[in-house]
Assembly symmetry: C2
Homo-oligomer: 734 residues x 2
């Protein structure tokens, strides 16, 4: 025993190591692998996950696996090959630990030796167009992915390797990439950014796997080991105190994988850090926020450059949910997610999750979506995001309101934007990103130019564009300096939820204020969104308020002229060049209605606008030489005015069933919108709905919950506390 | 007992009756209702269907149900009310028989007495725009629907009514409508047309329910009772000997309901007619063809004015499947259909179907889709429809080829059109109809004008339009006189299926010939469609061959110019006015490739065209003032030539998974198409695919299976029998 330790010590010193571990440990130790093995007999989902992984690995056994010289962009052969290789290495490493069969360790070793030969020869990738070029891949980020999985794989087969093999791999396969990250592109490695999280995790896991404390410390505390960069700084800097990540849930998904893999490895070797408890369990909060910001089908809300096809069944969330279940115990909220994922990580958390699912049997499970107000910024002072919700199961309606900070390079210029989801469908959309991920034909699967020229621009969002110019003039550097602010919010009501936020910086000369009420009418069991959107300025501007609806136009209460045989773009820049103008209204009536059909539900947008307002019907798809854009419609309200107050009611109603051929309640129940007052003190709107009056009062200059307000309405003195009051049919609604 | 019979006899004579029945009988007799009741305990699906129906009826008990004066178009209040009323009457009638509770009979009686007061006062419906106006509804067809269900309902509560009540209802509720059909609009009633089937069924079922032999005989044999019209004539005239109905499966669905309800009633009272065995069991054939012409998700192939949302879970198919199961016994092919329907008719067939399903448990079931060649026309001599298929379950690929007759007023000008479905998705589409059924906002739910101006026109189809003019100049009267013709077909091969058809009349000066091979390459397990489309003319014409693809354009092997800031229509009439021209190619290379992504699969269309060919990228949506059209794309090959042979390969390949972010085989494996010969005798094409040669030979002037042919190919004399030969990698493929 002593002898062994001595040998190990020699080995580890050679590897510049100050600590020595028993391997495997980075992903799971022997005890944990043993626990997984024991459960294999009795647990169906585990058995399936195990045999799926095994079958995937078995298919590669006996094949001389190519480790090609890097050449292709994302989606191309060498890119995909290196990606499948690192996944295979970790998968085979797990198989080795779970079956004890040497053939699995052997395939990993052979690959490692090939990489040990290749990696020292690498220079920047020939397809590198990123500001942080990669070596095996076109961008450094993918090289960091490689390090994470290769590190985990090495740890799994550590015991199978001879000392000299370990040395060869550490020096040949790992060191060139670790050096590249921590020396050549050190500034990038030391950023607080999700890409750098991957780099830290990669370097750190390799450190643990190869017993290299230097690597681990750089990963934890930055190359200077001063804590200004590195993993801990990421935990402190990337998330808000609520666990919100300012790139949005689609990117949280991407970031969680290295966070959880690396945290798990840290917990294994340095439990004293209490990494999972760090910052009031910020990792669990981050995961929970990410899951709460999904549609009922599991797809992430379309914040920033999101891809809408992506759901929480993606591998990253399997890893996060199962490692979280190991670290924190199984949260019942994760069970519906895990059931949809239909596979588990082969670790303790995965086993426990699947044992829990076994117990629930066929019982209906749905994620406990809840209304939430999340602050943004590491200090929680950079605005935030609110989700207003009503309903259960498939009848859930979710309104997402964004007044956060910019969201790094994938951020959109979308202050005070809303998205509406109802009955599992997107009803008012954020376009997301223009990208066909990993499809070579589409610029190697990268973000396409229309992401910036259209999808990030303000007009692609359900918020106001002033003078056809995007927020912050569409300049990231400026946008990064600012954020929206919350004025007040109240999610406590059964029938009324409200959030009110504003922005002072998107335009130098216009301030924006938006208040959103999600209301359920008590008698009719009817939901609606009341949206009061105000602008304040010293001068007259063109205000465009789009409703990027998804569905088919059904009817309007106003006349419009269609461009039947010739079509032009709505504008020339800032996203407008991508919009075909399909129709334009005459001067609108003050009370304006537009109804569309989305799947089986009708939606009517009723609006009180102003004298000069017009409506524009547009469709995405212009200035698109490579057919990259979806041809989605928009309904844009436009006014030329100074201080404008748009009052909109967004109302789902009725049902259309094409199979039974029955449609019901196809007409809106809103018949009038009146503005009773609108000044520095109050904005007061009256909506006639179901022949009843809905009264909405907001105090514009006092958000204190305790302030007392009074208003004389139809001969009655109304008196209430706090910044808002909703009454319906002469009764307060809450 | 004798007394009762005497009383009944008096009653029936008063009702001008020559025969007397024990009621109920039209839908089911006492014994059958008893059988249903007995099974209620043990059969879950039956129990659910029963309690769903009961709940629906119970919700209306104690309510004074409105029988309004007809006023609204489809989708409006009075329309929907009369529709829900007739459904309620039949449902409540069944409940009365199944529970014995008088409250159910009472609600039906009350409604009948209201109709008995209303119907004699009716004149043509105020919204009637149809050539066959209705009285309760805007078109006579819906009045016929009312008669069918009201007749079945009356039969169910017959025993509950007093003699005078029966008389009152027969005279007041039924006679005005029956007289209207059989006298006022007699020519319409005597048509051989699916609407008239409903009228016959309505009058016939009312005849059986009210013991009125005159009604029944008019329904069976036409108003003149000479057999030239009426139900039997419909069985003989509406279907081809194969059971194909020339309006297509979407309309077969609609027609089957009255066919099966009435046939069932006839079988109950006149078993000697052997109605279900009539014409070699034509009713079963019709149902089976209808089911075989659906996509794997149960939606009907988009022939003619079909609505794509409609599936075989619609009520009509529940009725047809369950009555067919009663009449013919349970066909195992119906079980997956019934499982998807998830409900049954409360009759013997429904019970047996659900008992069978209970036995199969959770076992995977899928409809046994098969390749088929169906003739069209009552005599089988009006061309037909062929479906070529390959694959099982979700991997099924189906190519539908239409060379049938016109298909009445809902027919499209689409001779030699193809539709392609693969992996459950529409890949090359027929637009279907432009209609939002029963949505009042969309012209009362009627067929919209763009159905005729776009969807029915040839350019909306995957077949050739000559000189921007639709087949038969888009004139129904002319199109009705002609049909395509089959040249040969062979569905017997495992690796090759083929169909070849032609049309001589769509254009006076151009003949069209199309041959389609569905090929599975033996080594690569790869499917493809080889499409040889020839024109023959004395003069030069513009030939447009569209591929109405669904999906996103990925790449082309040629350059094109996009219309970025201004867009015009492709043409001015015949459907072209509805197409925005998005891009146009320069002169195409002879070998042309276009790749698109449909859901998760890539499709490449490789084409050999001619010197002068260009490609046009269009999108539906122009000249659409009311936003009725979907914005679907098309890829149109255009040549100006005399005798043109388009050789196209349609090839599914690869996979795109947005969740795992992996795409594979994104490129076509076809690298060349050569035309080795193309004359009166033979068309010979060579396709280079996977670096192997696929040789396709067709004899153009001899379709005999026994004729011997020879061809010298690469130094070898090939010799074969019959009109075609396919070789791949130097071996015959079959």
């Amino acid at each position: 025993m002593k002898y062994t330790i001595t040998i190990l010590f020699i080995c580890f010193t050679q590897l510049h190591t100050l600590f020595a571990q028993v391997h495997p440990t980075a992903f799971a130790n022997k005890t944990e692998f043993q626990f997984v093995k024991q459960n294999l007999v009795s647990n169906e989902m585990l058995k399936k996950s195990f045999s799926d992984l095994k079958a995937k690995v078995d298919a590669q056994l006996g094949v001389d696996i190519d480790v090609p010289v890097p050449k292709d962009a994302a989606g191309g052969y060498t890119h995909d090959k290196h990606k499948t290789n690192y996944l295979l290495m970790f998968d085979a490493g797990q198989m080795y630990q779970l079956t004890g069969e040497k053939k699995y360790a052997e395939v990993v070793k052979k690959l490692f030796l090939k990489y040990a030969a290749l990696n020292p020869t690498l220079v920047n990738h020939p397809q590198a167009t990123s500001s942080s070029p990669g070596r095996l891949f076109w961008q450094a980020l993918n090289d960091a992915n490689w390090l994470v999985f290769a590190g985990l794989a090495f740890d799994c087969i550590h015991e199978y390797l001879t000392l000299s093999e370990r040395q060869k791999i550490a020096d040949g396969a790992f060191k060139p990439l670790v050096d590249y990250f921590t020396k050549d592109i050190k500034p990038w490695f030391n950023l607080i950014h999700n890409h750098a999280v991957w780099a830290c995790a990669g370097v750190g896991i390799v450190g643990i796997a190869t017993d290299n404390d230097d690597y681990l410390n750089m990963a934890l505390y930055g190359t200077e080991k001063d804590g200004k960069a590195g993993f801990i700084a990421h935990l402190d800097g990337l998330f808000s105190p609520d666990g919100y990540y300012n790139e949005g849930p689609y990117y949280t998904r991407y970031a969680v994988l290295p966070f959880f893999y690396f945290a798990n490895a840290i917990q294994q070797v340095k439990p004293s850090i209490k990494i999972f408890q760090h910052r009031d369990s910020i990792l669990k909060k981050a995961l929970d926020v990410c899951l709460n910001l999904t549609n009922t089908d599991g797809s992430f809300y379309s914040f920033n450059d999101a891809l809408k096809e992506k759901t929480y069944t993606s591998n990253e969330l399997v890893v996060a949910v199962d490692i979280a279940s190991k670290a924190y115990g199984v949260d019942p909220a994760y069970l519906p997610v895990a059931r949809a994922q239909n596979r588990i990580l082969l670790n303790k958390g995965g086993v426990e999750i699947s044992n829990n699912l076994k117990k629930t049997g066929n019982k209906n499970l749905s994620f406990p979506y809840k209304s939430a107000q999340y602050v943004d910024g590491a200090d929680g002072k950079s605005g935030g995001v609110t989700v207003l919700r009503n309903g259960n199961g498939n009848d859930l309606m979710s309104l997402i309101f964004k007044y956060s900070s910019h969201g790094l390079s994938h951020g959109h210029y979308d202050k005070l934007n809303i998205q509406l989801y109802d009955k599992g469908n997107e009803v008012l959309q954020d376009y997301g990103a223009v990208r066909y991920i990993n499809i070579e034909h589409k610029w190697g699967g990268r973000y396409l130019p229309e992401t910036n020229s259209y999808a990030q621009q303000t007009i692609a969002h359900n918020t106001i564009t002033v003078d056809e110019t995007s927020h912050y003039k569409g300049i990231e550097k400026i946008s990064e300096q600012y954020h929206g602010n919350n004025f007040y919010g109240d999610l406590s009501g059964k029938n009324v939820q409200v959030v009110s936020s504003y922005d002072d910086h998107a335009y130098s000369n216009v301030k924006l204020y938006r208040t959103l009420f999600m209301i359920q009418l008590p008698d009719a069991n009817q939901k609606l969104v009341l949206d009061i959107f105000k602008t304040k300025s010293d001068s007259v501007h063109q205000y465009d308020l789009p409703f990027n609806y998804l569905g088919t136009m059904m009817k309007t209460n106003f006349k419009y002229t269609s461009f039947l045989t010739e079509q032009k773009t709505l504008g020339k820049k800032n996203g407008y060049q991508h919009l075909w103008q399909e129709a334009v209204s005459d001067k609108l009536p003050l009370f304006t209605q537009f109804t569309y059909l989305n799947h089986r539900t009708f939606y009517t947008i009723s609006s009180l606008s102003s004298d000069s307002a017009t409506a524009h019907f547009t469709r995405v798809g212009a200035s698109d030489p490579s057919f990259n854009l979806r041809h989605d419609p928009s309904y844009i309200l436009r006014t030329n005015s100074q201080n404008q107050t748009f009052i909109n009611v967004i109302e789902p109603h009725g049902n259309f069933d094409a199979v039974t051929e029955i449609s019901s309640n196809t007409n809106s129940t809103v018949s009038a919108i009146n503005k009773l007052q609108d000044d520095e003190m109050y904005t007061i709107a009256e909506v006639v709905i179901n022949q009843q009056k809905l009264l909405a009062i907001q105090c514009n200059n006092d958000n204190s919950k305790s302030s007392v307000h009074e208003y004389l309405y139809e001969g009655e003195i109304l008196k209430w506390n706090g910044p808002y009051l909703i009454r319906y049919n002469h009764k307060n609604l809450k």
